[in-house]
C-alpha cells in the first residue's frame, strides 16, 4: 500500500495546482468586488487592499441604485437571457432529436448546415440584422435581442445535443413506440431527461455570452426602457470621466444572477439519472 496512487504528495500537488488556477480565475472577480466597496480615493491608492472600515464606502452602490432604472436593466437582462435560453434549448434539442433519430435524405448535410454557425460569428451579419429589425419594426424591443440570441445559440446546441442524443438507447425509444407514446412524448418524457447533463452544459455555454453581450443591445435596443445591465452600466463610463465606484458596483451586482443560474445548471451537470434505464 506504500505506493498507493493517492499518496499525500500527489494529493498536495494536485490541490496546489487547482488552488493556483482558482485564484487566477477568480482574481478579476475578486478585485472588482472588493473595490466596489471602497471609496474612489482608496481604489486608486491601493487597488488590492481589502475594504477595511477606514476605506469602506457604499457610494458606488448608492449611485447605481439612484441613477437610472437599474432594476429595470436587470429585469431586461433576465428576460432576454432566460427566454433566449429556453428557445435555444427547446429548438436545439428538437433539431438534434430529428437529426439523430430519423433517417432522411440530406440528414448529414442538414446537420453540417446547422452546425456552420459555430464557425461564423453572428456579428458579421449585424448590418443585415439591423435592416431586418428595422423592417420588422423590432428595433428597441427585447424581442429583437431574443431572436438574435436564439439564432446565435442554436448551432452549438444542435451540435452538442445531437451527439448526446445518439447515445440514448434505441430500445428505450422503441419500447415507447410499442407502448403507444407519440414521438413528442418520447422526446419530452424519455429522451430529454436522459440528456439533461448535456442540456445543462449547453445552457451554461449559451447563457454567459448572452448575459455579457454589449454589442447587440447597443445596436438593436439602446432605448432606456429596454437597456440590458451591461449596456446600462456604460452610463458610468464616460469619455473623460469614469465613475469607477458605480461601474464596479454595477458589475458586482451583474455577477449575481448569472451566478445563481450557473449554480442551478451545474447541479444538473453532476446529476446523471441514466442509471437503470438500460443494462
Amino acid at each position: 500500500m506504500a505506493k498507493s496512487r493517492s499518496s499525500t504528495g500527489r494529493t498536495f500537488a494536485a490541490h496546489a495546482i487547482l488552488i493556483t488556477w482558482t485564484v487566477i480565475a477568480l482574481f478579476p472577480v475578486f478585485v472588482t468586488v472588493i473595490n466596489s466597496f471602497k471609496s474612489r480615493r482608496a481604489i486608486f491608492a491601493d487597488p488590492l487592499a481589502l475594504p477595511w472600515p477606514e476605506h469602506f464606502d457604499l457610494v458606488g452602490y448608492t449611485t447605481v441604485l439612484k441613477q437610472g432604472d437599474f432594476f429595470g436593466y436587470f429585469q431586461n437582462s433576465m428576460i432576454v437571457t432566460v427566454v433566449s435560453l429556453f428557445f435555444v434549448l427547446l429548438f436545439g434539442a428538437m433539431a438534434a432529436f430529428a437529426l439523430s433519430e430519423y433517417r432522411f435524405k440530406g440528414n448529414t448535410l442538414l446537420g453540417l448546415y446547422l452546425a456552420l454557425g459555430i464557425m461564423i460569428p453572428i456579428r458579421l451579419g449585424t448590418v443585415a440584422i439591423l435592416q431586418i429589425m428595422v423592417a420588422g419594426g423590432l428595433v428597441n424591443t427585447l424581442t429583437a435581442l431574443i431572436l438574435v440570441y436564439t439564432a446565435q445559440g442554436l448551432p452549438l446546441a444542435v451540435f452538442i445535443l445531437s451527439e448526446f442524443m445518439k447515445t440514448v438507447s434505441d430500445d428505450l425509444k422503441n419500447a415507447g413506440r410499442i407502448d403507444g407514446l407519440s414521438e413528442y412524448a418520447i422526446f419530452f418524457t424519455l429522451v430529454l431527461p436522459l440528456v439533461r447533463p448535456a442540456m445543462a452544459t449547453v445552457a451554461v455555454f449559451t447563457m454567459i455570452p448572452i448575459w455579457n453581450d454589449l454589442w447587440f443591445p447597443l445596436i438593436l435596443a439602446p432605448a432606456e426602457e429596454v437597456k440590458t445591465i451591461t449596456l446600462g452600466s456604460q452610463i458610468f463610463i464616460g469619455q473623460f470621466v469614469t465613475n469607477w465606484n458605480a461601474v464596479l458596483a454595477a458589475l458586482s451586482l451583474a455577477i449575481l444572477p448569472v451566478l445563481v443560474l450557473y449554480l442551478i445548471f451545474s447541479r444538473q451537470l453532476i446529476r446523471g439519472i441514466t442509471a437503470g434505464a438500460v443494462k
Binding site: 430500445d171 419500447a175 410499442i178 403507444g180 431527461p193 439519472i273 441514466t274 437503470g276 434505464a277 438500460v278
Partner: protein, 331 residues
Amino acid sequence: MGALDLKSVTKSFGTTEVIKGVNLEVAEGEFCVFVGPSGCGKSTLLRIIAGLEDASGGDILLDGKRVNDVAPAKRELAMVFQSYALYPHLTVRDNMGLALKQAGVAKAEILKATDKAAGMLSLERLLDRRPAELSGGQRQRVAIGRAIVRTPKLFLFDEPLSNLDAALRVATRIEIARLHRDLGATMIYVTHDQVEAMTLADKIVVLRDGRVEQVGSPMRLYNDPDNTFVAGFIGSPQMNFLKSAALGQMGETTGIRPEHLNIRHGGPISGTISHVEKLGGETLVYVRTEPHGLLTVRLFGEHDYGVDSTVQLDIEPSRAFHFDADGKRLR
C-alpha cells in the same frame, strides 16, 4: 388470435439488402425462435414484424390482416428488449401500466392488470421501486411483466437473456417457457444461442444472410438438417464434417454428430488426441486426424484418455449425413 404470416418480406438499407425475401407462417400459440449468427438479419426481421422498421417489400399479415402500414402500438403486440429498455423515471408499476394508460384503460383495470402480472413474475414487493433500484434479473422480469400486462396477440423477444449471467439465464428461460404454457400466446423469440432455441421453441427458423435456411421443430432440425449450415449451427458441440472420399462415402462431405463417433480399436479413422474435456456427465475428446482435421467425440460418463495418444475412431453409418459440394444435403 396471433397467427403471423410473412410473405416474401424484403428489407434494404440503401443498397444493402439485409432481408432477402422471407416467407414464414407462425401458427396461433406457437413458440417460434429465430436463430442465426450475428448479422443474419434476425433482429431486423423482428423489428419489421414489430413495425419499428418498414419492410421494403412483401406483406406482413397478423391474423390474416395486412399490417404493413399499421403503427407499432396498434399492432397489439408487446416486445421485450435485450437492454430491458425500462422507463427510468417511472416505478415498476407505472412501467408495466404505461401502455394501458396510453390506450385509455380505466385506472382500476390497470391496477388489476399490473397486480396480476406482478403476481405471475413475483414482482409484488418491487412495484414501487424505480428501475435503477433493481438487479439485472429483476429488470428483465419487469420488462417481461410490461409485455404481459398488455395481453398482446403476439410477444416479441429480442435476445432477452443475453445480458444475464448463466444461472439467471437458465432460470429466466424456464420462466419464459412456463409463461408460454400459461398464456398460450404466440411468441417470437430472437437469439443467437442455439441452446435457447432448442429448449424453448416449437418451431425454429434458422437464418443466414437474410435468408431462411430451414424451418422446423428442434428435433427435426437436429435429426434431419437440410444443409451443412443448419447441421453445424444446431447442436452443441458442433457436428463433425469429414471428407467423404477418404471414407468411401457418397457426396463431398459427411456429417456426424460427436455422440455418433466412437473410439474403437481398429476403427477406420486414426488420429491423435489433442485435448480432453471432462464434464462429469460426459467427456469430450478432441482428436486430430488426417485428412479430416480436428474431430470431436462425445462420450457419456467419465473416461480417461491421455493427450497425444493414438486412437481409432468409428462412425455409426446410419447416423451420418451426406452433403454435396455446395453443402446441400443428399438424401
